[in-house]
Symmetry: C2
Subunit: 326 residues, 2 copies
């Protein structure tokens, strides 16, 4: 995976038409409801993301013949669920900027952010129900529960210095990989694909999601504020242990800046020292190695699928989603 | 409806066994998940409500022969959804006490309240999915959307003096009557009852919910802090126009205390004056008359159903739910 990865346009080529329908579906929400609600939905949809999760749903739906309509509805639901969880996250974290735009909570207050998030969660569920597939609806509800469980675990564990690798994996599965998994799984199920295809895509989505979150956690140490869109060391300031911080604690058990930071001693100096120590050690490399193992698992999961354009797009997305750094 | 209404125990007699199963289902949640999550769920379930909504689901399921299992699952989901919306409401309103207990947001902060509410919403949806009935799941998702829409409308409309009766009705349908409706409707659908029975119970739930909210709005003027569990005139302080305040504005267009309060002039004096003027006029009586019309509609909706113990319980619940005041 060291060659230059293709552009997002190239990766999305097989589903370009369907992605347009997903966008139309999301824009359609703006025309509904209370005028202020419209303004809120418009604000959110103007901060266009990369649409990776809906793209995964659409690509995953194309390994078995079907007319594609259910996948479009599902893809819109997946993106809405993602938007809902960002709105609540920003309110919980008191974040002021997301994707270069002021957050809903910073503009309209936490109360509105809570209610708008609820509205978006519920609307995403209404969309999924339109597929008429109870198995997919169940998986979707379970995903919302897993996301909330992961966020709660992070919140309860804040400023605690003990976190096992198993607990870390469980938390990043819940808060991030669960939705990538459901994006892939639901596309496959709704296409009517056989169980083996569904299973392959479940594995792909899960593993990609794990790698995605680990790279996100790495960038909190490695990136610049401009790249990451939030202050470097943000996780540490929130009291959140991630893989690089766990490795730092393990390797320097004495006089560790993370320990001092979590005890609220010289927060700024210890944040800087922690970042420097991580950058000057093999920790970033070792963390990327963990992410790379998940990416290899994701790629291997697709081995059983036919070598189509869609399969190549899913493989290319692995490199793209992890910021071309792995 | 002027005779002394029966006790809640008497009303719930036909479903006592099933209600016990619902409680067991809710208690079962406490044994799951992260230890802190368990503590939160325990905290919530210790503030036992009257279980009116699940009781309605169970009673509504008994007009057509069935084994009752799906109704129990659904009733638990309905109560959980109610709990979820209370947790978010208290966070949005900065409420510190609910049902005599400190609120989650006041004890653990707004962030935890947001995430716990999400967890409870999602868990309620997981329960509904267990029924395997996509029509009921859709109705449930739509209800969450309606509740959020109603709360958003209230929030956006805060401190605005123009509210039509139609807007008021729409808002109280969304924030309160929608869930009463779904409680009744889902019980009927899951029992396999014919469309006419389902329709009768939809009408019953909707009308009861409207009356319930109107009485709640009246008690904000008429009740004592002890009865209502929150300061009298709380809605006015939040900038929320309700039926009694709308009537007060209509009858005293000049020099009205609500106008002054909404312009943040002498808040405390104008709150007291508004309450006094409402109490010393026919406004409470006229508001009760509106609630009574909804209760009559709810009772009339049951005319087509057989005269069973369950039907009598639903009728008795009308008086009970509206605090024996109507």
């Amino acid at each position: 995976m060291n060659q230059t990865p293709p552009t997002l346009d190239a990766i999305y080529a097989p589903i370009q038409g369907q992605l347009g329908l997903v966008e139309a579906r999301l824009r359609g929400l703006v025309d509904q409801g209370h005028p202020v609600l419209r303004r809120l939905v418009e604000h959110i949809s103007s901060a266009e993301g990369k649409r990776m999760r809906p793209a995964i749903t659409l690509l995953a739906s194309r390994f078995h013949p079907n007319d594609g309509a259910l996948a479009v509805t599902m893809a819109a639901a997946v993106e809405l669920l993602h938007a809902a969880s960002l709105v609540h996250d920003d309110s919980v974290d008191n974040a002021t900027v997301r994707r270069g735009l002021a957050t809903v909570s910073s503009l309209w207050g936490d109360g509105v952010a809570v209610l708008l998030g609820d509205y978006l969660f519920a609307t995403s569920a209404v969309f999924v129900c339109e597929t008429g597939n109870i198995r997919v609806v169940s998986r979707f509800a379970e995903t919302i529960r897993e996301i909330a469980t992961g966020e709660l675990a992070e919140s309860f564990g804040a400023f605690r210095l003990t976190l096992s690798m198993e607990e870390y994996s469980q938390r990043i599965y819940n808060k991030t990989a669960s939705l990538f998994r459901t994006a892939a799984e639901s596309g496959a199920i709704l296409s009517g694909a056989p169980a083996s295809t569904v299973q392959a895509l479940v594995q792909y989505g899960k593993s990609l999601g794990m790698a995605f979150q680990i790279v996100d956690d790495i960038l909190d140490f490695e990136g610049t504020q401009e790249e990451v869109g939030k202050p470097v060391g943000h996780d540490l300031l929130q009291g959140t242990l991630t893989l690089p911080a766990m490795l730092l604690l393990e390797r320097y058990p004495h006089d560790n800046p993370v320990v001092k930071l979590f005890q609220r001693q010289d927060v700024e100096a210890n944040r800087q020292q922690a970042i420097e120590m991580v950058r000057n050690s093999s920790i970033l490399e070792d963390s990327y190695a963990v992410a790379r193992r998940y990416l290899d698992d994701a790629a291997a999961a697709l081995d059983s699928l036919p070598d189509t354009t869609e399969r190549r797009s899913l493989l290319d997305l692995l490199a793209y989603a992890t910021e071309r750094r792995v």
